[in-house]
């Protein structure tokens, strides 16, 4: 089965640490295969196993929860 890909618009990132924190959190989730985040553009690309996850599930991560400083929406 083809690898799933989503693009994210990520809000609230200010430095390299933010990128590391969000990437780590995303990768912790079962089914997430690769994460690429651009601090400058506020964008992220996530590759995932579609047998484990749907695109919307990528946002359901504590790093993007209501109490977090970071929030994200799906772009594609």
């Amino acid at each position: 089965m083809e690898v799933g890909k989503v693009k994210l618009r990520i809000y609230g990132m200010t430095c390299g640490d933010c990128v590391t924190k969000i990437s780590r959190s995303l990768l912790e989730k079962q089914g997430v295969m690769d994460v690429n985040i651009s601090l400058q553009e506020g964008l992220g690309e996530v590759e995932f196993d579609p047998t484990d996850l749907k695109p919307g599930d990528i946002l359901k991560n504590h790093v993007f929860s209501r109490n977090s400083h970071y929030r994200a929406t799906l772009i594609e």
Binding site: Y11, G12, L59, T73
Partner: protein, 479 residues
């Protein structure tokens, strides 16, 4: 070749309640980082502030100030004629609307640097791209959005009646510009808008005739309320033609002649003005929804899930353009918030079941949840009680005993399934019903909650008590 679109995180079609609440929510969640395009025509704020809730409530309040002193309800207080000037009232109304629009919409949105306002009508070019047209239909701009929210609202529907266009008519869009009170008005449609405007004009001194196609007023309400309201309005002088339709309107000297067909046959009335209140239709026809894959119901209203997602991924809808039963500012705003919350991966759903609605006649009518009929149809049986305000101390002191409170309960567990109220301040009282329905409170919860004596809201407690005892034999001190 098509110009490269300007890219936004969120493109919103519309600039009314749903659009504003969505733009503000998106800005708040993203801490002002979400780039938002807000596209629309007409005055900022859309229907509610300009031609809906705000001017209609202003006109009603002003009209009651003229009517009530002429109809005192307490012995020893005598009829007083209130000097007033209708054209100054209307100027005051327009100035209030201008100020409300400026302070609640224009100034507010100026504080959000992430939001760009575009003047023009939006039209989908594809699922992610919207063309903006000026008033001549020329495409002046193209924008694209990672997410798109359709919040284009609705407008008064104009029925196809012979002679209507030539004779001229008012709608809830144009009424607010008049300066002279029409001495007689035929209002076509006896729903919330027709009754509110009708009573306001009547209270200022117009002779008002309502022509309604159905055989009862406010069919979404309990039948006791529809008929109690009709009796009261008739007592005030409003005339009703029920199960009636207009076959023709024509200008006759300075008047308009309206031909009404009822089961009794044809009848003609002569009036100064005709006001249409036959419902509203969604602003969705020219949006090119097909290219975006957004489906509508047969009336053109956009189909959504409870998450406000449409049939097209990344495209959401909110407000009066959505296929639903209740069309309210409060719901439009809530739906806008829900749509945006879901864009951010939250799991938010609209709950129509506990949404309170209202008709701002005097007395007011308000409700939440299911009617007796709706509950019985769904569940086979229900328990309900109707408490007339004539049994309520506060109402009888005020001499305002025409109303009632009806509560419908699930017989399985005594939870409140619905509440409808006709009372001078029903729109304030109904919030108790909304809490009860939303949180699954029982009649015991209502009885155990302290209510002020004597007050109108005490009526809700007594209505709840009427499930467990005969309240006609109850002292007013019984807990």
């Amino acid at each position: 070749m098509r110009k490269e679109p300007k890219r936004y995180d969120l493109v919103i079609l519309g600039r009314g309640a749903a659009a504003f609440s969505a733009a503000i929510k998106g800005s708040e969640i993203s801490n002002g980082e979400m780039s938002i395009a807000l596209i629309g025509t007409g005055p900022l704020g859309g229907t509610c502030v300009n031609v809906g809730c705000v001017p209609s409530k202003y006109l009603l309040e002003a009209s009651h100030r003229v009517f009530m002193p002429k109809h005192p309800r307490i012995d020893g207080i005598y009829e007083t004629i209130v000097n007033h000037d209708f054209s100054t009232v209307m100027k005051g109304l327009r100035s209030y609307v201008r100020d409300a629009r400026e302070s609640k919409y224009a100034e507010v949105i100026r504080n959000y640097n992430n939001v760009t306002l575009y003047d023009g009508l939006g039209k989908f070019l594809d699922r992610k791209t919207v063309g903006i047209e000026d008033d001549k239909g020329r495409n002046v701009r193209i924008v694209s959005g990672s997410n798109i929210l359709i919040a284009t609202g609705s407008r008064p529907s104009i029925p196809n009646i012979e002679g209507l266009t030539e004779a001229g008519f008012l709608t809830s869009d144009s009424l607010w510009d008049i300066d002279k009170l029409p001495s007689s008005v035929a209002i076509i449609g006896g729903g919330a808008i027709g009754l509110e405007i009708g009573q306001a004009l009547l209270h200022f001194g117009s002779r008002v005739t309502i022509v309604e196609a159905m055989d009862s007023l406010l069919p979404q309400t309990e039948s006791e309320i529809g008929s109690a309201l009709r009796t009261l309005l008739e007592k005030e002088g409003m005339k009703f033609y029920m199960r009636a339709r207009i076959s023709r309107v024509h200008k006759y000297r300075k008047k308009k002649s309206v031909e009404i067909i009822t089961h009794k046959g044809k009848e003609k009335i002569a009036v100064d003005e005709v006001l249409l209140a036959t419902g509203r239709e969604p602003n969705t026809k020219n949006l090119n929804l097909e290219v975006a894959g957004v489906k509508t119901d047969p009336r053109g209203m956009i189909l959504t899930e409870a998450s406000m997602r449409t049939t097209s991924p990344g495209v959401y809808a909110a407000g009066d353009c959505v296929s639903k039963k209740l069309f309210l500012e409060t719901l439009a705003a809530r739906e806008g918030v829900i749509a945006v919350s879901n864009m951010f991966g939250e799991t938010a759903n609209i709950d129509y079941g506990s949404s309170a609605w209202a008709v701002f006649t005097y007395p007011q009518v308000a409700g939440v949840g299911m009617t007796e009929n709706e509950f019985s149809k769904k569940n086979g049986s229900c328990l309900c009680r109707t408490f007339p305000l004539s049994n309520l101390t506060k109402a009888s002191i005020m001499g305002e005993t025409e109303g009632l409170i009806k509560i419908t309960v699930d017989p399985k567990d005594n939870r409140i399934a619905g509440m409808q109220i006709m009372a001078p301040n029903a729109t304030d009282m109904i919030t108790e019903g909304a809490y009860a329905v939303r949180n699954g409170y029982t009649i015991d919860d209502i009885i155990a909650t302290s209510h002020i004596f004597p007050s109108m809201s005490e009526g809700i407690k007594i209505a709840a008590q009427s499930f467990i005892r005969d309240i006609t034999k109850m002292s007013c001190c019984v807990e």
